[in-house]
C-alpha cells in the first residue's frame, strides 16, 4: 500500500522551480542545475503517480533543464574561456526566473494593498443620482417668429374644431396638406406622430395621405424606422430654397 503525499499545486513551471530553489536556499544566480533538474523531475513523477494532469508547460521546462544540464557538462574550451566570456547556458533561464519572481512578489504586494483598500468604503453613488445634462442645443435654430407661427398653426386646429363643428366638419385633404406643409416649414423636421394632433382614425389617415402627397411632390423627405416604426419627416432643403 502506497501512501499519499499531498502535492502543493504550482501556478506553472517557474512557480515550481522557484519553490525548489527557495526550499533548498540556493543562490538563484548560481543554480546547481543537475540537482535542481533532478528534484524537478521527482516532482513531476509524483504528480504522475497521483494521476494529476501535467500540463505541457511543465514538460517543456523539464526538457529545458535537461538541455542546460547537458550543455554545462560539455568540456569547456579553456582558450575560449580565457579570452572571451562564453555565455553561461543558465543565463536565459535565470533571467526568466528572476522576472517571474519579481511579478510574483508584486502579486503579494497587490494582495496587501487590496486588503487595506477593502477596509476603506467610498460613498455609494446611487444610479438615480445622474447629473442633469447641459443642453447645448436648447431650442434649435427656431426664431421667436417661427414659434409664433407655430402657435398660429396649433390654434387653427382648435379653431376649426369648435365643439359644434367638430363632429360635422371634416378637413379636406388639400387643407391637411397645407397644414402639414406649414408646420414642417416652421419646425423643419418632426415625426409623423407629432403631426397627428388629434388621435382619431380620420385624422391619422388624412395626415398620412398628406405626407405621401408632399413626399411625392418632393416638398418633404421621410424616413421610417423599419416596419411600423416612427416616420421622421423633414422639409426638403431644395423645396425650401425654391420657395424662399
Amino acid at each position: 500500500m502506497g501512501y499519499l503525499v499531498r502535492l502543493e499545486i504550482f501556478e506553472g513551471p517557474f512557480d515550481l522551480l522557484l519553490n525548489l530553489i527557495e526550499r533548498d536556499e540556493i543562490d538563484i544566480l548560481d543554480i546547481p542545475i543537475a540537482k535542481i533538474a533532478q528534484e524537478y523531475l521527482v516532482y513531476l513523477k509524483q504528480m504522475q503517480e497521483q494521476d494529476l494532469v501535467i500540463s505541457g508547460d511543465f514538460l517543456v521546462m523539464a526538457a529545458t533543464l535537461l538541455q542546460i544540464k547537458a550543455r554545462m557538462l560539455l568540456p569547456h574550451n579553456p582558450e575560449v574561456v580565457a579570452t572571451e566570456d562564453e555565455q553561461d547556458p543558465r543565463e536565459e533561464l535565470v533571467g526568466r526566473l528572476l522576472e517571474y519572481k519579481f511579478f510574483k512578489e508584486i502579486s503579494t504586494l497587490l494582495v496587501d494593498k487590496w486588503q487595506l483598500t477593502a477596509t476603506l468604503y467610498p460613498r455609494v453613488v446611487r444610479r438615480g443620482e445622474k447629473k442633469d445634462p447641459i443642453y447645448t442645443n436648447l431650442i434649435g435654430d427656431i426664431s421667436i417668429d417661427q414659434l409664433a407661427k407655430l402657435y398660429e398653426q396649433v390654434l387653427q386646429v382648435v379653431d376649426d374644431e369648435d365643439p359644434v363643428q367638430k363632429i360635422h366638419r371634416r378637413v379636406s385633404l388639400q387643407e391637411c396638406i397645407a397644414r402639414v406643409r406649414q408646420r414642417l416649414l416652421a419646425v423643419k423636421e418632426g415625426t409623423f406622430t407629432e403631426l397627428v394632433t388629434v388621435k382619431e382614425r380620420y385624422w391619422v389617415i388624412l395626415t398620412f395621405l398628406a405626407v405621401l402627397e408632399l413626399v411625392r411632390k418632393r416638398e418633404i423627405l421621410a424616413v421610417q424606422d423599419g416596419e411600423f416604426g416612427e416616420i421622421y419627416l423633414q422639409i426638403n432643403p431644395e423645396y425650401e430654397e425654391e420657395i424662399s
Binding site: R126, Y151, L155
Partner: protein, 176 residues
C-alpha cells in the same frame, strides 16, 4: 461603547450605506437605543456645521448630502452634454405656454389635442418652463409658465415682446 466612538461609527455608517439608513437600523448595528442614536445624529449635525456636507433626513433614514449653497458648483462636475434639438411636440407646447401662461397641462392638451406630459417635462428639464403655482379649484392643477432662460434664448426683454397674434382681434370681429 463611548459616545464619541458611537458617533464616529454612526457617521461612517451613514456615509457608506447605499440607502438612507434609519435610526432603527443604526440602533440595531450599534446595539443602542434609537433615542440615543437620534441624539448622536444631532451631535453629528452640529459637528458638520462648518462642512460642505450635512445630514439629511429623507425616506425614513439619514444620508449625507452636499449643502444647497454649493449646488451650482457641484453642477459643474461631469454634467453630460446633450445636443438634441427640441421636438415638434416640445415646440408646440412651448409656444402655447409662452402665449397663454399661466396655463395648466390639461389646457395645453386641449389645444394640442394630444397628451403633453413628456413635452412639458422636456421643457422643464431644459429650464424653459417652470411650475408657477396652482390654479384654485378642483384638483388644484399645476400652472406652467416660461422662464427667464426662455426670454434670454429668444432675445426678448419681456413677454410683451412676443409677436402679437393678428387673429386675436380678427377672431373677435368674426365672432361678432
Amino acid at each position: 461603547m463611548k459616545l464619541d466612538e458611537a458617533q464616529k461609527i454612526t457617521e461612517g455608517l451613514i456615509f457608506a450605506a447605499p440607502y438612507p439608513v434609519s435610526a432603527h437600523d443604526l440602533a440595531t448595528i450599534l446595539e443602542l437605543e434609537p433615542v440615543l442614536v437620534e441624539r448622536i445624529i444631532e451631535r453629528i449635525r452640529e459637528d458638520f456645521n462648518d462642512k460642505a456636507i450635512m445630514i439629511r433626513n429623507v425616506a425614513g433614514g439619514y444620508q449625507f448630502v452636499t449643502r444647497p449653497e454649493i449646488a451650482p458648483w457641484i453642477d459643474k462636475l461631469g454634467r453630460p452634454l446633450v445636443n438634441a434639438a427640441l421636438s415638434l411636440a416640445g415646440l408646440e407646447a412651448l409656444a402655447i405656454i409662452a402665449y397663454k401662461q399661466p396655463i395648466t397641462k390639461s389646457e395645453i392638451e386641449q389645444i394640442r389635442g394630444v397628451r403633453s406630459d413628456s413635452a412639458i417635462n422636456t421643457l422643464m428639464e431644459r429650464e424653459l418652463v417652470v411650475e408657477m403655482g396652482r390654479r384654485e379649484g378642483i384638483g388644484r392643477p399645476i400652472l406652467y409658465g416660461t422662464t427667464d432662460k426662455f426670454l434670454m434664448h429668444f432675445g426678448l426683454k419681456s413677454l410683451e415682446e412676443l409677436p402679437s397674434r393678428p387673429d386675436f382681434t380678427k377672431l373677435g370681429e368674426t365672432v361678432e
